[in-house]
């Protein structure tokens, strides 16, 4: 419970307040300003997890997004957050965190003992067959691996999206980013500055406060404060902290995720938890900084072994020293600064182990003067200690070989620095390849993406002085490009407190034993990938870095190899005896750090996921027991169930009423398009298979639309309202596609035609009155239309007044019965529907839904485009030769109807099916075969497209396409089912009811 590792003073924490938190059920304390990681270290907690494969104890390695080990579950219940990096979880009072794997005695620790039996590719090799057991294996592996768990309850929180535009987006609020934002902001550009940290300052926050390190004569702290204040005072600048730019997409579009609540324990009622920013920038300055690489040596994963920069961050930003006696291992100068920091904090620095021969610089001299022993031309070979590092063995190295002088140095903290890797991720998201730089020993961004540039450490400018100048210049440059005029003020100036360079690349500490026999040298901590695993991959023939990644799992996981990938690629290059540039990197893809599903979804969840369309009569359907079916975005009544009825009984009742008296369907959802213009008839003649040139005003025609390949894609009725005025209906789901189709042909192929299209789907309510008594119902409601058979023939329409409302009545039928479709202004839809129900009452008028509609139309063999057709059938396949205009010389798709494979024998043709057992309803989509005993793979000759039980017929029936089906009526065909049974059915004509078609003409 005591913060034993907390320094007496220093750090950017609020020592006046002490807050409580729990980790794996134990209580600890920390201060506001801490992260979970810094608070755990302050409390002396060194083991924070168990590794993925070997279950080795692991401690905190980093201090930021690169952390591979301290991956925790925060909170509980619906608010729980899996896979959080403890280094980025801000501490708040009452925080509960846990790791999935047990930290004490570990039953899976056996994996470590027998690790030689768990080589790279182990999971592929062991669990690859048979495939059906994979779900079991995966479950076991996940349990053993201790990954986090997703909340099981629904997410109660609110997330949103913000679309933003700016002149200059600056990613990263370190010195370079601040300088860039300052210059561009002063010039008047609209600037958006985003940083993932709680406060601005970037790497400066990890620097020790001392007299010799100042910017423009002010302390770092002061400079950050005055710069932040200046930016905040500018109306044209917006600063977003706790906001990670996770993805860089095309045309300067970036995704940012802002944490608005997690950092303080979650949102209050009505607040937003995460906000996803969709930023379109005119220019982007990437000032994303660099991440330090650790060095690779034996047992380099022992708790107490960290990166140098992490140690510096804990010391200077959080006032925590993770150990009492440190050994620093480096190949560059930057580590010496931290050695001095440790000394200044009163800690013992037992040694700086430097792989370089006779390093010399002001920093090295300062360390030497401070009395820190420096072992040059040396390396740590291995660490000792089981649950925490206790000592290191060092030796002299020359040209990568051990040359003796072994020595053991006791310590409880090892800080290593293998150099710095610029965060080129965002730069590379849109396809740029990073370029290897031999001098800085790192990958740098390649050529700038259009409208983007980089500044600061990401470009290899590791010194503060240069980063400030470069950021300032880039901020001015992009502002100038956009027409702003940056003043001639000077860049913030700083004496350089010591550089990184010179650096001597050093990828793998030599060992006395072969790679696979010595202590493990970890490259990727999170995936337990070792140098030996990479060597094994190479021995087994892998050469591409992308393949080695997948074979060894290096670079997967929540950290995506931020810490270890460059080391791994360099080791791979060495093993392949090629350069790092030749070896290259794996592909950088969004997201830079994980983002929440909530942020991705934003408000488009639940009922806001997709718009819901309801007809004017929707409330009536709800009140009258309708079950609904989603058709596109529409809610359509599926069937109306009365108390005590089964679904089948309801459908039988609805069918019976419609065939014998009168039924009514809400058909408002059918797509409706008006077509106007002098060339409307010429245009529609090209669109439909049937002729449109000689239609008479007042008449209707059934129409088929084909794609240019000759395949049916939609159907409907065309009514000629006037000389240059048509009204088309489409299927409910096909309305938008049909309108798009008309527009595309008009705009791109025949722009000179005088024709235009208007969607009127929502303007009309459509009530389809079907059945022998439909005429009686209409006559009771309307006295200005003559409904007698010959006065109002089939396939015509009349304008009149129905229930006191101006209406257009079509005499068309989708049931095969006498039928009328009443179309009225949608605002009067409910009124007219109520009137229809009242007028029909003497006849027992029965509302029916889409299921009954389907049974009735299928009994007549009427197709539903998109159900009985699937984009691979022609009008001839469907037996609809009659729908093609005999004298037409061209229409869209016509030429394809004479292509050799369209007129060839053996095409699938539209048929009916009558199951031998009339009670069995064939599943829709079921495959059809001639011989159910045939050897696998069984030749399939067709499939079921529609299938129902018909009370009218007294048996089940189906519609299908079958090879040469039209000449096979009367034959038996089979449908093998997943449960092993086989359904036999007779091939029939697709029209089952009223084959002569007399009923609709009465």
């Amino acid at each position: 419970m005591r913060q034993t590792q907390r320094l007496e003073h220093g750090g950017r924490i609020d020592r006046s307040r002490t807050i409580k938190f729990t980790f794996n059920g134990r209580e600890y304390t920390g201060h506001p300003g801490d992260t979970l990681a810094s608070a755990l270290l302050a409390n002396g907690v060194s083991i924070v997890g168990r590794s993925f494969k070997y279950h080795r104890p692991r401690g905190i390695v980093g201090a930021g997004p690169e952390e591979p080990n301290a991956i925790v579950q925060v909170g509980s219940g619906a608010l729980t957050r899996p896979d959080q990096r403890a280094t980025q979880v801000e501490l708040f009072d009452g925080l509960e965190a846990s790791t999935a794997a047990r930290l004490g005695f570990d039953p899976m620790g056996v994996n470590n003992t027998f690790s030689r039996m768990l080589p790279a590719g182990f999971y592929y090799k062991t669990f690859k067959w048979p495939a059906k057991y994979w779900p079991n294996y995966e479950k076991r592996i996940r349990q053993a691996a201790g990954l986090g768990h997703a909340p099981t309850e629904a997410d109660p929180d609110r997330y949103d999206h913000m679309n933003a535009h700016c002149d200059v987006l600056v990613v990263g609020g370190g010195p370079a980013g601040l300088a860039a934002a300052l210059r561009a902001g002063r010039a008047g550009a609209r600037v958006l500055l985003a940083d993932e940290n709680a406060e601005l300052g970037g790497a400066l926050l990890s620097e020790r406060v001392q007299e010799s390190t100042r910017i423009d004569g002010r302390s770092y702290r002061d400079w950050i404060d005055t710069t932040s204040a200046e930016l905040a005072a500018m109306d044209n600048v917006r600063v977003l902290t706790r906001t990670t730019a996770f993805g860089n997409y095309d045309h300067n579009f970036l995704g940012l995720m802002e944490d608005k609540a997690d950092y303080r324990g979650g949102p209050a009622e009505g607040e937003v938890r995460h906000r996803l920013w969709r930023v379109r920038a005119r220019r982007t300055v990437l000032a994303t900084g660099a991440l330090e690489r650790p060095l690779v040596f034996g047992n380099n994963d022992r708790p107490g072994i960290m990166t140098v920069s992490a140690v510096a961050t804990y010391l200077n930003r959080y006032g925590v020293c993770p150990g009492w006696r440190a050994v620093i291992f480096t190949n560059n100068d930057s580590a010496y600064r931290t050695a001095l920091d440790l000394k200044a904090a009163g800690r013992d620095v037992a040694a700086v182990v430097d792989v370089r021969c006779k390093p010399s610089s002001a920093l090295v001299d300062a360390a030497r003067e401070a009395g820190i022993p420096i072992h040059d031309s040396s390396a740590i070979i291995r660490a000792r200690g089981s649950r925490r590092v206790k000592s290191v063995q060092i030796a002299r190295v020359k040209y990568g070989q051990l040359t003796g002088d072994y020595e053991t140095i006791a310590c409880d903290l090892v800080a290593s620095s293998g150099g710095w890797s610029p965060v080129v991720h965002l730069h590379c998201h849109i396809g740029s390849k990073p370029a290897w730089d031999d001098v800085a020993a790192c990958f740098l961004p390649g050529p700038d993406n259009p409208g983007q540039c980089s500044a600061g450490a990401v470009t290899g400018q590791f010194s503060l002085r240069d980063a400030l100048v470069q950021g300032f210049e880039q901020g001015g440059a992009v502002a100038s490009e956009l027409g702003f005029e940056p003043g001639d003020d000077k860049a913030p100036s700083a004496p350089t407190p010591g550089d990184v360079l010179p650096i001597e690349p050093f990828w793998l500490a030599p060992s006395e034993r072969p790679l696979s026999r010595g202590p493990k040298q970890f490259v990727d901590y999170q995936n337990d990938t070792t140098a030996a695993d990479i060597a094994l991959a190479v021995r087994e023939g892998y050469e591409s870095v992308e393949h080695v990644k997948r074979y060894t799992a290096m670079g997967f996981g929540t950290d995506q190899g931020k810490l270890g990938n460059i080391n791994g690629m360099a080791i791979l290059a060495w093993l392949l005896d090629q350069s790092i540039a030749e070896t290259g990197t794996t592909t950088f893809r969004p997201a830079y750090t994980p983002i929440s599903f909530g942020a991705v979804a934003g408000r488009t969840a639940d009922h806001l996921f997709d718009p819901i369309r309801k007809t004017a009569m929707h409330d009536w359907h709800v009140a009258n027991g309708a079950f609904f079916e989603d058709v596109g975005q529409w809610k359509r009544p599926w069937y109306y169930r009365r108390v005590g009825e089964s679904m089948q009984q309801a459908i039988d009742r609805e069918c019976h009423a419609t065939r014998n008296s009168v039924g009514v369907l809400d058909a408002s959802t059918l797509g409706k398009i008006e077509v106007h213009g002098a060339d409307a008839n010429r245009f529609l003649d090209m669109i439909y298979t049937g002729g449109r040139l000689k239609m008479k005003t007042g008449t209707c025609r059934y129409g088929l639309m084909l794609h240019e390949d000759g395949m049916i894609f939609d159907d409907g009725v065309t009514a000629k309202l006037g000389e240059n005025h048509y009204y088309l209906t489409t299927t409910t789901g096909g309305a938008a596609g049909a309108l798009n189709w008309l527009e595309q042909w008009h705009q791109t192929e025949w722009p000179d035609m005088d024709v235009f299209f208007t969607s009127v789907t929502d303007q009309w309510a459509t009530i389809a009155v079907n059945g022998p008594k439909s005429r009686d119902v209409l006559q009771a409601l309307c006295d200005d239309i003559d409904f007698e058979r010959d006065a109002f023939p089939f396939m015509t329409f009349r304008d009149g007044t129905v229930a006191g409302v101006s209406a257009r009545v079509f005499r068309i039928s989708f049931t095969g019965e006498l039928a009328f479709e009443i179309n009225v202004d949608a605002n009067y839809g409910r009124h007219v529907w109520d009137a229809v129900m009242a007028a029909g009452e003497p006849y027992g008028i029965t509302p029916y839904g889409t299921e009954t509609m389907h049974v009735l139309r299928a009994e007549k063999g009427f197709i539903v485009a998109g159900q009985d057709t699937d984009g691979s059938v022609t009008p001839m396949d469907m037996g609809m030769h009659w729908a093609i205009g005999k004298k037409k010389t061209d229409f869209i798709g016509m030429r394809s109807l004479s292509r050799s494979d369209i007129v060839a024998e053996g095409r699938k043709q539209y048929v009916g099916l009558k199951p031998r057992d009339g009670q069995i309803v064939l599943p829709e989509g079921a495959q059809l075969v001639d011989d159910p005993q045939a050897e696998l793979p069984m030749p399939m000759i067709g499939h079921v497209s529609s299938s129902y039980y018909s009370d009218t017929l007294g048996h089940a029936f189906a519609l299908a396409v079958v090879k040469n089906g039209r000449s096979r009526h009367g034959e038996i065909i089979y449908s093998p089912q997943p449960d092993g049974t086989v359904i036999a059915a007779e091939i029939t004509d697709p029209v089952f009811y009223d084959r002569e078609g007399a009923r609709q003409y009465v």
Binding site: Y249, D250, H251, N252, F253, R278, R280, I430, G431, P450, E708, D709, N740, E743, Q744, Q747, T748, E749, P751, T889, D890, M894, R895, S896, R899, S900
Partner: protein
Amino acid sequence: MFQIDCPWCGPRDQSEFAYAGEGGIKRPEDPSALTDAEWADYLFMRQNPRGRHHEQWRHVHGCGQFFDVVRQTVTYRIESVDLPGRPALANASGEVR
């Protein structure tokens, strides 16, 4: 996500648009005069270039207009937008590449 400069509305996000196939494909005047192979060429064969691509887009959640775009399929840079069938950078024969 691309930013596409609709000739009628100005620059808008790609999410407002729908891709509408390769541009500059003219429907034959008299399809019945074509052989099956010639018709299949019109119907099925597309350029799919690595480089400059002449394509059509529709501002489906905007003005509803179709227009032509010349776009680099490697860099995704949009070189031009124009009315259907008239890409600004097409040469006299209508060839883009």
